[in-house]
Amino acid sequence: MKKFTRLQRILLVANIVLLVFGCLMMGLRQNTLSNIGYSAWTYIKYGLIDYPVTSVTNMFSDFANLWHAYDDNQYLNEQLAQQRSYKTLYEEQRNRNQELEELIELNGTLDEATTISASVLARDTDAWDQTVTISAGSTQGVEENMIVCTSQGAVGLVESVQTATSTVRLLTSDTLINDIAISIALDDGTNVEGVLESYDPDAHAYRISLFDNDASVTQGQEVSTSGRGGNYPSGIYVGSILDVETNDSALISTIYVSPVSNIGSFNYVLVIGSGTIS
């Protein structure tokens, strides 16, 4: 009678072979003097199973690391973007600080004049060179026609006053609410006076008429308020002479004065009332 099928015989032989092989390996493992066979088997096992498995798992691990690298990259990009924001923020704060320091310096030069510190609340983009709204109003003592200065010099006149805010008409505006009396200190110790009438957008300068047509004014001379006829003190810097226009009789008819450098962008202002600058 046939006891085993062909398949079972094959399985039996394979089992016996593996069992004998395993026992042999076990025996070699116990024998510390001859571990060559065991080392060879370890090497085969490593080559056949462990190394491929480790390679596959390393592949997964590399893929996971790649994913982490992507995350890291995203994180670093965000950080970099934030750093850029911090840099611009820092620069803005530094400029504001500088502006405030200069305003304090200017404030220190005013003895009897009324000074009110304020910040710019709004500046309409459609009328950038026309008006600004500042954070000081009648409560703080602001009055109409007071002069408004930045750290560089005069930039406008108070047009209307509300309780906590005021509207400032800039000197670069098309329609100045009042002419501003100015004064130019000459080299011989005398002053020549005039009036700031308007702003010439083509020349990017104030148009000023002098009362004394014979005065010898030249480019680069500084122009300041004279304090006459306004609700503000004398000596506040308005700008420097850019050009001098003469008439047929070689008499000075009009001078052009460049505005202060930061009239295009400022954050803090000083509203100055009547008085004198020391």
Partner: protein
């Protein structure tokens, strides 16, 4: 399926188990939840399920010895254990009506039995020193859940392979029939 293919499949799943173990390593202190993939064992259970008890025993013992030699320690522990459990799978399959649920319960039971005996053996030899409850909660539950899912995946794979074999057999039979008809008509 031929023995050669079946052995290859078991070997492949033992390798997959090894890879899964590398990816989701067991916590040796049993403080965290972990699981052990036993697709290879489930595979040999499913193969033994369809064979005679002696073939099941010999096939499972061979797989167990392969497991001992290449993937585990404690030769010939797995050889003997798998052999006995393979024979059990084969024996139990003949006791009732064929259904997937029954097949699942038999394989699940054998899996639990295998894990319990392994735990007992490794506790006895001092390989693991952990309380039964901790081992069961932190390791065995995860293992059972994972392998329950793996069983259905394997059953699906085996089903697909079985259908492929049937289609192939039918195609060969049709070709042979055509050949015989031609032979009968033309004599060539």
């Amino acid at each position: 399926m031929k023995l050669r293919k079946e052995l290859l499949i078991v070997f492949l799943f033992l390798l997959i188990d090894d890879v899964i173990e590398f990816i989701f390593p067991m916590d040796p202190l049993y403080e965290q939840f972990s699981f052990l993939s036993q697709c290879g064992f489930l595979c040999l259970c499913l193969i033994s399920y369809r064979t005679s008890w002696l073939t099941g025993f010999l096939f499972s013992a061979l797989c167990g010895l392969i497991q001992d030699l290449f993937f585990a320690v404690g030769f010939p522990f797995h050889g003997i254990l798998y052999g006995v459990l393979g024979a059990c799978a084969s024996f139990l399959s003949r006791l009732g009506k064929e259904s997937i649920l029954r097949k699942f319960w038999i394989c699940f039971m054998l899996l639990v039995f295998e894990n319990l005996i392994s735990f007992g053996w490794y506790s006895m030899t001092g390989t693991i020193q952990v309380q039964f409850r901790t081992w069961f909660v932190h390791h065995e539950l995860g293992t059972l859940i994972f392998n329950t899912l793996a069983f259905f995946v394997l059953e699906y794979i085996f089903g697909v392979m079985e259908r492929y074999q049937t289609i192939r057999r039918h195609r060969i039979q049709r070709q042979e029939k055509r050949k015989y008809r031609r032979l009968r008509l033309t004599g060539k």
